[in-house]
């Protein structure tokens, strides 16, 4: 009875940070043609919850598991899977390639270094790609990626972000660069530092970087209690 539901799929936008730029996890469906790159996604099973499906599909295609996926929303353009290149690919893997499929998108933020993708199932390659370098994806995945970026930008206004994208110990420059990468604009360094200090979400360690070719920087860690509080209640700067 637990068959694939031909009408509903899930797609995952998993963001990772490499200290320089924001990356996203993509799969290649088996060609060098870049139009074949896609977000990891597939149909749900008939008796499966949407959240469960997202977790399962991500692991099946990329080997990545144990991450928190948050729903972004549903995407249901009637023509979203009707491009010829997508139809050809669907014919090779689905029993009802012409069926209208609504997809439910999820997103996540992870420490890139901890998640090395391993392609399996119909994914021939699974890899981290710089978000900025992506100009073409299968189906409506470019639109989904864009919505995920917007969600991230909104989130950063009301919640602290970084804990899931940085190592336990990090420098202020790394945190600064992360915010710039998410907001896609340069941020004044002094201003940024002042605001972060004011939020009280990081604490300095009695430790500096080691093995770097420049003057080692002070290391920080997140102030867990304050960070979790702000994650839960939000910055709530308006004060209500």
């Amino acid at each position: 009875m637990n068959e694939l539901n031909p009408h509903i799929s899930v797609d995952c936008v998993v963001f990772g940070f490499d200290f320089e730029k924001l990356n996203v996890l993509v799969i290649d469906r088996g060609s060098n043609d870049t139009s074949r790159m896609a977000l990891p996604g597939n149909l749900i099973y008939n008796y499966e919850h949407l959240d469960e499906a997202a977790t399962r599909v991500l692991e099946e295609l990329t080997g990545i598991k144990n991450i928190y996926l948050e729903q972004i929303g549903a995407f249901g353009d009637p023509l979203r899977a009707k491009k010829q290149s997508d139809q050809e690919w669907l014919k090779s893997i689905r029993s009802e390639p012409g069926a209208r499929v609504i997809t439910v998108a999820y997103f996540s933020l992870v420490k890139m270094a901890d998640y090395i993708p391993h392609a399996s199932s119909f994914a021939k390659v699974a890899s981290w790609v710089s978000v900025k370098e992506i100009s073409l994806l299968a189906f409506d995945h470019l639109e989904i990626l864009s919505a995920a970026k917007d969600t991230l930008k909104q989130k950063i206004k009301i919640q602290p972000i970084g804990f899931n994208l940085l190592p336990e110990k990090f420098t202020l420059s790394q945190l600064h660069r992360l915010y710039e990468a998410i907001l896609e604009k340069p941020l004044d360094k002094r201003n940024f530092r002042r605001k972060i200090q004011k939020l009280d979400i990081i604490s300095p360690l009695r430790e500096k970087q080691s093995g770097v070719p420049h003057k080692p920087s002070q290391l920080y860690k997140f102030n867990k209690e304050k960070y979790e509080l702000l994650t839960k209640i939000g910055f709530d700067n308006f004060g209500f």
Copy 2:
């Protein structure tokens, strides 16, 4: 060809404010049994966009149109339509009552006085009901209502709210009461006024209330430019 898609529905959470409490638009499917109350919702057509479907369904069931509906997300518990009372009702109106249906939920904020619902189609009654008085709804609509309330609470942290829920001219007390109703908690009056003034989203009019049994209060209107700017960019209090 344009048939109903038996697998996907849309549901609308339309909030209205009556100067006292937050209300939501519900339909009654034709019984005095309160468990028959539901959010206005129905299946989408095969070739219809999700947003279009939400607009159409809301108008078909309640007569309410020309409002901006924003997607909250998809709800897909495999058992969401399997309660006996819901199944009985579905059997009376759908060709595939047992099919698994994923619903995509939308929400909106409107001036209650401008929108008098008129029930039609399978809705026997369409009416505004105080959100606080709702303890039972069809399907998973209570969960959807709760998600819509959460979305509203999040939104109020990053964007000004009220323009769509208040008349053109309003008092500070009315705005204060609106924020209390949305946040579901009392807010200190002086603190609230100070913060609203600081945001610079309202301007005093050379006019006071008339025909009220108490000392008439100063009337205000929204500062349209500032309001729209903050709606677009958000409070952005963190300063990025």
